[in-house]
Symmetry: C2
Subunit: 405 residues, 2 copies
């Protein structure tokens, strides 16, 4: 008998019919002799609706109360799912994060899990029941209700799998797994049977939307195998697990792209120590999330510093940089919203030389200019013009032969 933690996202339980479909599926899994624990998100767009309501009522929106408000969404979903399970003849009980013993720190709106007690979940399992836990929520050491942040239900599922020593953690979502590229861009994109945690983490950074990065980190750190799969087709999806040293790694596993960032260039800065420190401290003080940074010294002893930020931070980043122009003796600040990144990811990259050359040659052959480059040991990212990024993804997918297993 296996113990499986199943996570269902907002789309998977988006309406009454979806609730019943999910309940039916859980029932089938239980009748095959498995123990099931469920972590469920708020229905459909409910979290957005609650956030909108809060902005209508309040300007200040204190974190403690935001968490109390937002967690109402998962509370509704878990109660409704238990009702549907009851109709399907599956004994179940819903539990808030607090009732499930998910203890967090006091950092409201993005609390971190400190411990999962899970006594009531074990009791429910022992009674043959399916415990259904509200996702993305816990109770703080200060006894307040906390929200783990967007995507927090994935984290709840992984934490439950770890605390209950589950055999696997299944992340049911609206896609059927992790693909070699976005199938909307590359129709030949192939679903991956498996990926290791590092590859998945790099893909999260580089624009792959599922699952939530924090939950993958949590799973890696606690050795919980993830199975990302569809709550619509129910077919087997992609396993994310530890690297098996016995297996040969795929050289390149996937190509991803991301159009959510913009570029700022601070030009003509004298090449003195402390200039970059001053600039990025000021940006940090304005809570701007800087992603890539590149600095090139010219022969004239001045340098251009380029960095990328989320689109929504571009105006502030430009303002902060401009206000420092005098202090750091920059000649110009350029804001460029029309960029995108394209990345190749693969654990085998470490042991295969020449990958970067192939990437650059492929882009060159398409006439695509590379504006910035960033690397990790298993990822290579290029900044290109936004309007050619899809072409870049298609060309790289073909160049690395990703359509064939």
């Amino acid at each position: 008998m296996a113990l499986v933690v199943m996570k269902f996202g907002g789309t998977s339980v988006g309406d009454a019919e979806r609730m019943r479909t999910v309940a039916d599926y859980i029932g089938r899994t239980v009748r095959r002799g498995n123990q099931v624990v469920v972590a469920v998100s708020a229905m459909g767009k409910e979290t957005d609706d609650l956030l909108h309501l809060a902005t209508q009522v309040s300007v200040s929106r204190p974190g403690r109360e935001m968490d109390m408000l937002i967690t109402a969404g998962e509370r509704k979903a878990m109660a409704l799912l238990c009702m549907a399970l009851h109709d399907a003849g599956v004994p179940s009980e819903s539990f808030t994060g607090s009732q499930a013993g998910i203890i967090t720190d006091t950092d409201h709106t993005r609390a971190k899990i400190l411990d999962v007690r899970g006594d009531r979940l074990r009791e429910a399992l022992a009674q043959g029941k399916v415990p259904v836990v509200g996702g993305a929520q816990g109770v703080s050491t200060g006894r307040d209700v906390t929200f783990l942040g967007r995507g927090g239900t994935d984290t709840t599922a992984v934490a439950l799998a770890r605390a209950l020593d589950a055999d696997s953690c299944e992340i049911y979502t609206d896609v059927s797994g992790v693909f070699t590229a976005d199938p909307r861009i590359v129709p030949e994109a192939r679903r991956l049977k498996r990926l290791n945690f590092e590859e998945m983490l790099e893909m999260c950074t580089a624009g792959c939307p599922k699952p939530a990065m924090r939950s993958v980190e949590f799973a890696r750190n606690h050795h919980v195998r993830l199975h990302v799969r569809s709550a619509f087709t129910w077919e087997p999806g992609t396993w994310i697990e530890e690297e098996d040293p016995e297996l040969e790694q795929a050289m390149i596993s996937a190509v991803t792209s991301d159009s959510s960032e913009a570029k700022v260039t601070v030009a003509g800065v004298p090449d003195h120590p402390g200039v970059a420190a001053r600039l990025f401290r000021a940006l940090a003080d304005h809570s701007i999330n800087v992603d890539m940074i590149e600095q090139n010294v010219s022969l004239q002893g001045t340098t251009d510093i380029s960095f990328t930020v989320p689109h929504e931070d571009l105006a502030t980043a430009e303002e902060v940089s401009s206000s420092l122009m005098g202090a750091i003796e920059a000649t110009e600040v350029l804001a460029d919203p029309d960029i995108a990144t394209v990345s190749i990811i693969g654990a085998g990259m470490k042991t295969h030389p020449g990958i970067s050359a192939t990437m650059f040659e492929t882009l060159a052959a398409e006439g695509i200019n590379i504006e910035m480059i960033s690397t990790s040991s298993i990822r290579l990212t290029c900044v290109v013009r936004a309007d050619v990024v899809d072409k870049a993804v298609v060309a790289l997918h073909r160049a690395f032969n990703l359509e064939n297993e």
Copy 2:
């Protein structure tokens, strides 16, 4: 410094602007040097919406999960109200029924309060904060979330007032108090300055919609003064408190009417012992709420038994009665949906003879036939045709001179 418990109903916090208006009012009360504890209902029609959602998802709707679902409504409202209070510069903290230490029995969907610990509320008050408690909810002795039922926020407010030894319990609602009659029926109806608990309870039974009867019983049993008043005009409303033996009681305080019931007559039953027992046991077994019962023996040795039930139970009541016709040797079962009740209520009725004569004469003068009569020590109720009940209310209001204080 007074400690005031304020209850706000769904209409009072029905939208973002109402939330801010209520927060502003609480702020003014605090700045005048009072301590305030709030009990708040779900916004507007949210409880109905949640019930509707449940019927869409599930046929069985187990009580434990219904309570988890429904209490999400108050949770949202209390968090939003605290945000609005924060904007208004009033320190506050929201508490679920469980966090407030409201301990109930395990009777889901209509749990009863067993104890109110209130430690966290006292802590919050000591820190100069306004505790905002989700209405109509608690945690059961079995550690599950419980719902106190419709109108349960009134009960929450009274229980908090009692546990915290508050100076008063203010029930803010969409009407400005309790009236001598429904002002839609009797334009001259007058708001009552005070009523005693027994009068209020009889009015609740006889069709006055506010406040919830259970909370009035709770307040009477625990000696908590209630002040029913408007969250729209904020003017002083009606005090409901213990009878002051020093004060002379008004002979009649109010006239009410109720069109929510229907009548069933089981005719021609032999006048034997056990017939009524058999009939009403069968009705009770079908969970039918019988209100008034009347039985008259005729000279022929047979009897007609008439009783009233809520409209929604009429079909079942008729069916149950008809199925017993053979067994109890009845000649006929008549279902009559077109009735209404009109009642006069007053603590002074006990010491004033002739009240019933005045009532019957008044109805006779209007040509209104009385079909059934029911009495308590401070209430007199007549069943009349539904289409003349408003005329009856107007005539009785005038006959007992209720428009003048």
